[in-house]
């Protein structure tokens, strides 16, 4: 247990010292949210209708662009290879590093989503469902993104390949995330079926993605 906490703490420290974490990701989020009205026109009614979907797309693009640093610096200085050989299971290493990434990038993005929703005329009654959906769905985004990062670490032009590989896998998260953010006409009950599916997707990704990511990391070192 202490090894797990130590690894998470290490990654949190590195992320804080090296920068390029939450701040940059939130900045990117803001840029995308700014571009949308510029492209679509300032009609507030239109923006209000697309706001949940647009926020979710901007969120997953922000996570996608930040996820390649989960393994990059450790690969470059050789510590990733050491982690692959260490007694601690590589799957557990992946979980720790992804948890650290989510705490520094995914969670801040998810929490800032309703604020950016204001820029897109998001209806006030959808703010709580939106933030619930983003907070519950963003771990899935981080874990699936980590698989992509593990597959493409150390490859030149790996970022483009990462996006091409991961974006189709984000489709279910996006669909159920937006549905959970908006489909609350079902009444005061916050636990809509979409939200439950989102919980299931996040839990499934927590279990399955580290296996795939660890296999991918091992492929780089044989």
């Amino acid at each position: 247990m202490s090894a797990v906490l130590a690894l998470i703490r290490r990654d949190l420290l590195l992320s804080y010292r090296l920068g390029g974490g939450a701040g940059t990701a939130i900045g990117f989020f803001l840029v995308v949210v700014t571009l949308l009205p510029l492209g679509l026109g300032p009609d507030n009614a239109l923006l209000g209708r697309i706001a949940p979907g647009a926020i979710w797309v901007a969120l997953l693009l922000s996570v996608l662009l930040s996820v390649d640093r989960v393994f990059q610096s450790d690969y470059e200085d050789g510590s990733l290879e050491l982690m692959a050989l260490a007694p601690m299971s590589l799957e557990l290493v992946v979980i720790c590093k992804t948890a650290a990434h989510w705490l520094t990038t995914g969670l801040p993005l998810a929490l800032s989503a309703p604020l950016f929703g204001l820029l897109l005329n998001l209806a006030p009654e959808t703010m709580l469902p939106l933030v619930l959906s983003t907070v519950i769905g963003s771990p899935a985004l981080s874990f699936i993104g980590t698989v992509g990062a593990a597959l493409t670490v150390g490859i030149r032009r790996g970022g483009l390949l990462l996006s091409l590989l991961i974006l189709p896998l984000y489709v279910p998260i996006l669909i159920f995330g937006v549905s959970a953010a908006t489909g609350l006409n079902a009444g005061p009950d916050l636990l809509t079926p979409s939200l439950m599916v989102l919980v299931a997707l996040s839990l499934a990704s927590l279990v399955l993605c580290p296996i795939a990511a660890a296999a991918a990391i091992r492929s780089h070192f044989t």
Partner: protein, 239 residues
């Protein structure tokens, strides 16, 4: 299974099978096309455009079928390290991508007279579009990574991760589509398929399957040859 692991044996076996496969492909395609274009009756609502179904549905079936073949081959490559498994997976991908592309294009050409738009975001077409993206990603892995052994492993993981996601994506896209159900949607297969429509469909589907089998064998032979060429070139460089 490992009896055919030897590339030389595979070349001999596939070389013997190829004339038969080619003949079967030609015969089935000829029969299927005749039935689709000449003898199949027209639909009361759709008229002649229902004939597009005979090349759209088999293409979509093959798109999924070939991805399954790729996934199985990738699993065999990862778990049992069968030497021909990654050859099978790598060569199946471009063929599958072509079938997926055809499913999208013929779907669009079928949809324009039916729904009035070149592209409709209905559940089936959207799922096929995402499947096309999965194929492109897989092919990109082979093109981007230089070392063959590493490329084979990474590609195999990509294929399996994609395969696990195909039913999830299909389910979520169908759910998404049912939320945004447009006012009137024409169902593409109708209540029950009459036998005069079913037979051309099955013949074309079988024809496409045998076409894939033939092309896959040819492509695998080509890949084995190119690996031999690469081996000789490397040996040449090392003097």
């Amino acid at each position: 299974m490992f009896k055919y692991a030897n590339p030389t044996r595979f070349m001999a076996l596939s070389g013997a099978m190829l004339p038969w496969c080619t003949a079967a492909t030609v015969a089935l395609l000829a029969a299927g096309l005749y039935m689709s274009l000449v003898t199949a009756p027209t639909d009361y609502q759709q008229g002649e455009t229902v004939r597009i179904m005979f090349i759209h549905v088999p293409a979509a079936w093959m798109a999924l079928c070939v991805y399954t073949v790729m996934a199985i081959a990738s699993a065999v490559a990862l778990i049992w390290r069968h030497p021909l498994a990654d050859v099978a997976a790598k060569t199946a991908a471009p063929i599958g991508a072509c079938f997926t592309f055809l499913a999208l294009v013929t779907g669009s050409l079928w949809g324009k007279p039916m729904w009035g738009a070149w592209w409709v975001w209905d559940a089936r077409l959207t799922s096929v579009l995402v499947l096309f993206l999965l194929y492109l990603g897989y092919i990109a892995v082979w093109q981007t990574i230089d070392e063959p052994v590493k490329a084979a492993r990474i590609a195999a993981i990509v294929a399996l991760v994609g395969f696990v996601n195909v039913p999830i994506i299909k389910f979520s896209v169908e759910w998404w589509n049912s939320l945004h159900q447009p006012a009137s949607v024409l169902r593409v297969d109708g209540p029950a398929i009459h036998s005069s429509i079913l037979w051309p469909l099955l013949i074309m589907a079988t024809a496409y399957t045998v076409l894939f089998l033939t092309l896959h064998l040819v492509a695998m032979r080509g890949e084995i040859l190119s690996r031999r060429v690469r081996q000789l070139q490397l040996a040449r460089l090392e003097g």
